[in-house]
Amino acid sequence: MPVLCSSCAEKRAVMKRPKTGHSLCKECFFWAFEEEVHQTILAAKLFKHGERVGIAASGGKDSTVLAHVMKLLNERYNYGLELMLLSVDEGITGYRDDSLETVKRNQEQYELPLKIVSYEELYGWTMDAIVKQVGLKNNCTFCGVFRRQALDRGAIMLKVDKICTGHNADDVAETVLMNILRGDIARLRRCTAISTDSEGDGVVPRCKPLKYAYEKEIVLYAYFKRLDYFSTECIYSPNAYRGYARTFLKDLESVRPSSIMDVMHSGENLSVREGLKMPVQGTCDRCGYISSQPLCKSCVLLEGLNRGLPKLGIGKHHRLLDKILSEQPLTEKEERKLKAVDF
């Protein structure tokens, strides 16, 4: 018995929306999905007319759909934005070089300028080399910290006013859960914000237009629109702590589909009690990037890598960091602590 689309009631429904459970035909789904992103952009006032916007493109499903939808909405509603693609090459053989091919294809399809920045040129280290030194447990920290700065540097090179990333509802909900599990109050406060504050030089404000789109709907959209993307798990990621939060969120979604929005709603309504000490934003002494500590995390991690002490930025070795910076020699025991690598 064919089920009719619950929006137009004319065509046959071809899919069921994970978000609300309604059955929709292709066109109505496209329209609903695009319209929701448009409403998000309007309600949160993400862009101004005439801005140069960099789309952080990794070649994965989120950024492919983001590029497609941004171009579409830009034309449909006359945002007046100048769009371009920005991509980061972490130097992971077999994973990143494949996905970069997708980005290059996207560039041709959407006729958008593309800029690729790599860890090699910015820091002198590829992720492959880093993993060889660090092992498989804490490598995601390195990649994430370096990528953040890489995106900003790339954005400055391209002279964009804003970056938009493809973070979706599942990502934000996972982050809320992960921050609760890790007790990271400072991040908990900031992680549900749809755009970042834009103070300081060297920092480009970034936003998440897809913040309220479910991951499954993004895949459905890409599938029905026949968008091509690269879909493999990063080979170095299986041990990340985020995986626990992700599994839990997926289970929650299977019990109650609205859970993802519920978690986000909870996150948006949390704030920190008054009187608690919070980190203050300053700048790094060495590179001038924003940082809440005297040295930004990238510099600390790089220092550790260059000296062969990979655990320098991981865990709490403050005293040891001070010692190193003031050129004092470390005792053997301390060196061993910083070198210890678990595979």
Partner: protein
């Protein structure tokens, strides 16, 4: 390596003997009996001291229970609440200086009707618990959950803070005063009359079961049961003259509750749901003195010192892992704790540092409180919020113009106020109740405006809100009438809010 004729040339090292006969880390004398946290081995006496001290410190630090106050202990029969009962007993029986100075009573809510237990099973459990309570020597009340159907609407009306909520600065003065007055006499609680075990009417049980059945998901059932239980507890406290209610939630359970509530959309109410004191009801303050104890510590104490507890099955007993969000979260936290032993304490400490971000009036105006959970409403008007986006999604996925509601369309059938009439379909989830001209109580669109985000989800999962107890439905109607009144005269009102009902 293990050859027969091999000779060992090196000295064999003495392997470190696993610590069976370790000494207590605190007094360094007694033999260790329990290991609490990583590596901390305590002897029996030190453990007992540690346990009791924690209880006192929790009460003393928060300075919320004043001398001679009547405090109701909500005991479910489980290990945490029985342990709490024992701590209160111990505290009352000590000699003058450290004695607990409040007047406790016990209440047990018999939920057998909602779970589907037989009358015999329920009576058996009640008899066991009566024995435990009698041995404690405190006045106790056995209240069947069926009584929730007869509650007055005053339960849902938060009264202002009564005389029981005195500022902490008065605490020391109050204690000194009390000690001077009562140095010779001891606290008496009056005649302890033998409480009669109330008779449970069969039709009441059936109504309760019908209500439970109307909840389509186990998650909604549990949430509803929690709400009803809390209402009944508060009502009992009010009618029997108690000003504080002590709940036996321990640290592990609170960590699970925190994560569950975040998953249910109750982030705004975190501080009240999991904090030490909860003042949403105004005159009755809910207190959680056991919140610093992990489930393991309570289990060890109960075992070592013979604290009696009675097992009571709940809605979740013997259900699968993914049966409900509560069950899923419990499994998740327990498993994570096994790999990362500090998980529970981190979650607990995170909860302590958080509070609501909603800007709303604190007390007084009932229009700002959720009908079911009595917390401040968190349905923000902010257009760039998750709540608003869910409304937009609903709108975009449904028929825009009015048309006949097709039985085939898999749409949630709550929120369509005229679905019973079979005519027009209002479409928008947040529309006013203007089209429902009937005097029926089930005006679901407006009920949505009376509920907080997560209570809305619970009510959405009910097949029909008709089965909700009368007091909830009447209060809903009353609030709707009042808000209509307000709409009519809104242009003439100078002050916005602050006039309580």
């Amino acid at each position: 390596m293990c050859q027969v004729e091999e000779e060992y040339h090196e000295q064999l090292e003495r392997a470190a003997v696993p610590s069976v006969s370790k000494k207590c880390v605190k007094c360094k004398e007694g033999t260790a009996a329990v290991v609490i946290k990583a590596g901390d081995a305590y002897c029996r006496e030190c453990f007992k001291e540690y346990f009791i001290h924690k209880f006192r410190a929790m009460l003393g630090k928060n300075r919320i229970i004043f001398p001679a106050e009547k405090v109701l202990l909500a005991v479910s029969g489980g290990p945490s609440s029985c342990s709490m009962l024992r701590q209160v007993q111990e505290g009352l029986s000590q000699n003058a200086h450290n004695k607990l100075r409040f007047l406790p009573g016990i209440v047990y809510i018999d939920e057998g009707g909602a779970i589907g237990q037989s009358v015999e099973e329920r009576q058996r459990t009640v008899a066991e618990l009566c024995a435990v309570f009698k041995a404690a020597g405190l006045p106790f009340h056995i209240v069947p959950l069926e009584q929730v159907l007869d509650l007055p609407t005053s339960v849902l009306q938060a009264t202002g803070p009564s005389t029981s909520e005195r500022p902490a600065s008065e605490y020391k003065a109050a204690v000194d005063h009390f000690i001077q007055r009562n140095s010779s006499s001891c606290l008496t609680q009056g005649e302890q009359k033998e409480p009669s075990l109330p008779d449970v009417q069969e039709p009441h049980t059936q109504s309760l079961q019908q209500l439970m059945l109307s909840a389509k998901t186990l998650t909604a059932k549990e949430d509803l049961l929690n709400t009803l239980r809390q209402h009944l507890l508060v009502h009992t406290a009010r009618t029997e003259g108690y000003s504080k209610l002590m709940l036996g939630d321990n640290c592990t359970r609170l960590a699970v509750k925190l994560l569950t509530n975040v998953s249910l959309g109750r982030g705004a109410q975190l501080a009240q749901d999991t904090g030490f004191s909860d003042n949403r009801y105004g005159d009755i303050i809910l207190v959680r003195p056991m919140r610093d104890y992990s489930a393991k510590e309570i289990g060890l104490y109960n075992h070592l010192f013979n604290v009696a507890s009675v097992f009571n099955p709940s809605l979740e007993t013997k259900t699968s892992e993914k049966a409900s969000i509560q069950r899923l979260t419990e499994g998740f936290v327990t498993r994570l704790q096994a790999d990362f032993p500090s998980t529970v304490s981190i979650i607990y400490r995170t909860g302590e540092k958080l509070q609501t971000a909603c800007k709303s009036s604190s007390t007084g105006d009932h229009g700002d409180r959720c009908l079911l959970c009595m917390c401040a409403l968190d349905s923000a008007v902010d257009p760039a919020s998750a709540f608003h986006m869910t409304l937009i999604s609903e709108q975009l996925s449904q028929i825009k113009s009015s048309g006949k509601t097709d039985a085939e369309l898999p749409r949630p059938n709550q929120g369509q106020c005229c679905s019973s009439g079979g005519g027009e379909d209002c479409g928008r989830a947040a529309s006013g109740g203007g089209c429902c001209s009937s005097a029926k109580v089930t005006e679901t669109p407006n009920m949505k405006s009376l509920l907080c985000y997560s209570c809305k989800l619970t009510v959405k999962d009910l097949s029909s809100p008709d089965h909700l107890p009368l007091y909830i439905l009447s209060e809903a109607q009353r609030r709707q009438r009042r808000s209509h009144m307000r709409e009519e005269i809104s242009e003439f009102l100078l002050d916005d809010g602050d006039d309580g009902d």
